[in-house]
Symmetry: D2
């Protein structure tokens, strides 16, 4: 038996896949809230890597607040322009002085934001269409020397203590609707966008399942430079619809209806056309932690943590670590153990305990028909125990940019 306080129980509800009504949402990477999440997380990663490079360990920082103030734009077929720039304020705390060394935290933050924005929203001219400002306080004077170099990443010796009483929750497997929503956005912003430059990164997808009927509603910002006229716009919308329908068919046998840019009114010339591919250019503000949870989705049918994961320090912020870890555990269990229909992992920390020993690790399971909890219990526990032991692997992955947080 594990020394960790792992409890495995039946879940107290039906598998989400079997509930009558299911709602799922994903804000794409170009959505104003996601831009903030992405910038905050990029800044955090850059700071963590620079700290390791410069002083051998991650110093105290927290950059989980980024505020985006929308701009104003005048899109036009063939190419319009941003009229009032977007304003983005990076907010947080970071250690600027360490043993006589100055760490240029604000320039690191700006560079990270720039690189992230230039890659993610290439139509947005950094410093012209968007003004990025930064206010990083120094936090408390205490240096929190919580995290060392490589060797410590692997041993229990290097496991930090929880700095708070906090809570993380993860789920697996995703339902069909969830997979459709998540995959559709990722593939639209990946393979599809690479050959369809008219599709901007601000793609918002809502999936609603009632019984066996799935409705997928997509709001897709089109980039005016690549859309010559209303016919091309209509084609672009139709093409997105087809693509999403195809993605959906890979994940479900249920009936799927796909709706794209349903608020358009061609008569009135009211369409979802943008200069930069994000609604941030036209009045949609954004901030960190207001959009997708750590698994990339908003899932009102499942318990969610309010904790903003993006931008938090990956070494000692227990809320961030446990949200990512619980998701990772849930996925590992479902990958390795057959017969699980729905699984929820909740990790509750206790201040002062090593983070590989949560106060409680609750695992709630719905098994497939014909499988009992006893059949899977041991396998599940072994995996949970193993993953908890490797908790610092989460930190490493975050620092190396291998895990997404939104």
């Amino acid at each position: 038996m594990s020394e960790r306080n792992i409890r495995i129980e039946p879940i107290d509800r039906r598998a989400v896949e079997d509930q009558e009504v299911e709602i799922v949402e994903r804000k794409g990477i170009g959505h104003p809230d996601s831009i903030c999440d992405g910038v905050a997380e990029s800044v955090a990663g850059a700071l963590a890597r620079e700290y390791i490079d410069r002083v051998g360990e991650v110093l105290h920082f927290n950059t989980d607040e980024t505020q985006l103030v929308a701009g104003e734009a005048a899109p036009a077929f063939g190419g319009g322009e941003v009229v009032d720039p977007i304003y983005l304020l990076i907010v947080g705390r970071a250690t600027k002085r360490y043993e006589g060394q100055m760490i240029p935290t604000e320039t690191i933050a700006l560079r990270a934001a720039r690189e992230y924005l230039e890659e993610t929203i290439p139509q947005l001219e950094y410093g012209e269409d968007i003004v990025v400002d930064v206010k990083l306080g120094e936090g408390s004077g205490d240096l929190q020397e919580v995290f060392g170099e490589d060797d410590e990443l692997e041993g229990a010796v290097g496991v930090p203590m929880a700095n708070d009483t906090s809570f993380g929750v993860g789920h697996a497997p995703l339902t069909e609707t969830e997979r459709i929503v998540l995959e559709a956005e990722r593939r639209l912003n990946g393979e599809y966008a690479s050959t369809h430059p008219e599709l901007g990164p601000d793609v918002k997808i809502m999936g609603k399942r009632e019984g066996e009927q799935i409705d997928v509603t997509v709001a897709a910002a089109m980039v005016d430079e690549y859309v010559a006229d209303i016919e091309e716009y209509a084609d672009a919308v139709e093409s997105v619809r087809d693509f999403v329908a195809e993605v959906a068919r890979e994940h479900t046998d249920r009936d799927v209806d796909v709706h794209v840019n349903t608020a358009d009114d061609y008569e009135e010339g009211s369409i979802y056309l943008t200069v930069t591919g994000t609604s941030a250019e036209q009045g949609d503000d954004g901030s960190v932690g207001r959009g997708n949870r750590a698994n990339g989705l908003i899932t009102p049918n499942r318990s969610m943590s309010m904790e903003a994961t993006s931008g938090k320090n990956p070494v000692n912020h227990i809320g961030k670590i446990y949200n990512l870890l619980s998701t990772s555990i849930a996925e590992s269990v479902v990958d390795d153990v057959d017969g699980i229909r729905d699984l929820r992992v909740r990790l509750l920390s206790q201040i002062g305990r090593p983070i590989d020993r949560p106060h409680v690790a609750d695992v709630h399971v719905v098994t497939d028909e014909g499988v009992s909890l006893e059949d899977v219990e041991t396998d599940v526990e072994v995996i949970v125990d193993r993953e908890l032991a490797n908790v610092t692997e989460i930190t490493r992955q975050v620092i190396d940019g291998e895990l997404t947080t939104f």
Copy 2:
């Protein structure tokens, strides 16, 4: 039967009161996230009232983004000082021109913020300890004339259309733990603070119940001006503990342990002492929608909406309205119908439908032992139907400041 699509079903989980582990949190009114919620909501209320006063209807606005950048302070027994001011940026959209009239949206916003802050965090010198700035864009040029004067508030005629597909969720009754957490904060910041000026408004309470044992952990910012030395500090902490324990006893027969300022280390002189009564003065940033849900609590055991309620336009923002309305419905049902142990109301909107006719109004019920769903079903439906019919009452209450959103 109602023409509204109301579904009443058994809930697919145990009542939260009967679950083995329960976690509840409330960030008090002086917490940096709550400050942002409060300012955003005050600004929204002030704008709505000014619009009605000046042009007879609520014009388009949305002020649901406020960013707080923490300051730095040097608290000291008997009275310290803020060293670097807090910076607070009010963000949003508001109509500035209407039929030739200029509406001073930014000065209205600043005045509302000032009044709110001066009342809520009296130790904080506005304009000195905190710099409040504002960036209100003009939103889209379209005027959304969605809401009229008094007479329209009552009739179905005036019911606006949903502007989005969104989702609200409410619960009732609160569990014992929830009531303890909610009441303790409210009464600490009310009757208690009125006679104990040393208690600042930044009170954060976490309740954790495991079976029959409830732990209440309070982080209470003390105001240095009213604390002469470490003995008085210790007394102040003890007094808060006693008060919360007493509040708890009014709500439960379970065992309750109360912990206050557990991170203090008197030896090291590390205590929770502040100049202004909020941790925003010392490195804790904040923003809207990151804290309490519309019912004042963070309840991972219950489904929650990610939607930030504070600062949204109460006339046409369906997410705000449905979160408040579903909570109000749940409370009304439980007030009027006996035999309900736990109840969840979910309202799902559909773009273009009148908001008193949600796409679905899901009511999930756990009845008391000996009571069946059929026993209560009709009563519940009648109340839900009636409350939906009065949806614009929610708008009125928000505008008049009668409903809290966080």
Copy 3:
């Protein structure tokens, strides 16, 4: 003979009073540039006094940059309102840490700005009609311990070294036109405004003399709250005209024409009406050092220093000290020595020399008819020498707010 390098020579031009064309300007205390000068100088004084209070000496600071971004207003007879607030950014450097003590430089700056603004522009609601923000860097880490307590203020021992090669220039006596311009603004903003609340503090006066004809042009911002209609406005303008004409008559026998608000066009309803009494509310930006020189005037007929005096550190900023000192010397000489028609004092510093020993102290004199330079030379030198010896008295007066810098 003085050991100081004092040179007394005839001036190489006619006395300004005797030149054919003379132009003089004064921006009143409510002019956007003067607001910036005034805030900068108030902040400097407050910092200096706080440093002395807290650590016994004035630490390094420089706050000679304040930027005002104009707002937008909708004035109306009987009382209009500010629509977009003015934004004022206080910029500079100030020592925040000294021997383990934190100095709250930014809150000191904000408080000083608030008090100054509330006194000077009472119609302007601080924090509502104007947002005041502050960015004070820490300057170089080196503490410049240049200035001690009271005792050092008097002895040569405490005389600091010049930190720069800089230049100050002062003139006396003022010409008739200069006195009219200076006095008219001061008395309008003093005795006149105290009984005429309709006159705002933004009074800009230009005096032009061609031979024996003086034209005084006044732009006077009227405060809408105290002006009921266009007749009252016309009366207010006329009243200002009469008052200024009267002031002028006290200073000259030349012909004087006074023009007030000449750009008004009553037909078109284009008048100089404001809500707050300053054009900063309606599109006029401002910054430090762009308006009046240290003697309160802009005098193209005389040599002027480009140096912004307001906001500079009064202990070690040689440009500030020498501009104030040269003016003070010129006035003292003219007060005490008869027969001087025009006098210019120039002080040139040399890095590293005590500031009471300028590299050169040039005194250029135009004597009255019948008086030769020899007649006054010795008296002048004695006074210059005495004033130079008392250079630190300038510092004291600035810190105590006894000297104006604009």
Copy 4:
């Protein structure tokens, strides 16, 4: 005789070249005040050109306020880094809407600032080492249609009316000391810097002449990336000294001493080393109008206008136009007429008169020995008259970036 009110008189002082003490200063293009002047003027030029492109005429704008808040840097031999970014706020008014068209004034401003900074201070990474923000109000609603297309640039028909009573002053020829100071900076930042990348653009030069002795003091920011150690630094300083001495020899036969970076203290390691080549990275704030006058110099021996020329609208801002025009006139006269030792041109506008007809055009002349005023009077008047007639040529040159303003 000209119909313009041109007066030609002897100057009422000695030629500056013949005065005993002369002081001249120039802040190089990388000095914080010059950065602000340069950005403001670039923004103004870009706006003017865009307005002409888009609507056929220059609309109302004024961008003569730019505030630079210094950063913090950690220079190091071989290459250090900016620690806290510089903050630069572009302030002004510009027409954003014209006949239904939106003019993206703020993005135009940001682009102009970026291009200017990238060209002028190439070591400064835009958006990382410096944050550029912009606040352009809309000014008064009135459109000032003062300036048309090409054809109007040439005819008297298109001459705008003066919008203010203002004053411009120009001088020629430059004295030897003035030429040395001006040329040295231009050539250091030109030919010299092109082969000496270690010299940054922040070069400040002060010239002081006492009788026949000229002292030139240079403060030259070195760029750390190109300076390997203290020896290379010393060599770089020496090389600047030699170059400036050589420039000086081209302009004078007087004795010239050149001093470079005199505040350096090699023992203490206190040298003028920078990361970006400007002191703005290390605590030196800046703003428009605080440095060089329109002729590129600060000349306390000559009368100067306080008016900030940079950033003003070149079509209708009479202060800008008259400062540039008076300088241009003075230079033309001296180029074409022999026998002039010193000449000052003053132009005084009168509201409502065409700007080619100043209220007074004062020309004060010191002739060479043996030349009388009568000898040159007619030639001078002809040139002044011709230049005044071509006043709009100044506007054209400013818009096309052919004239410098600082």
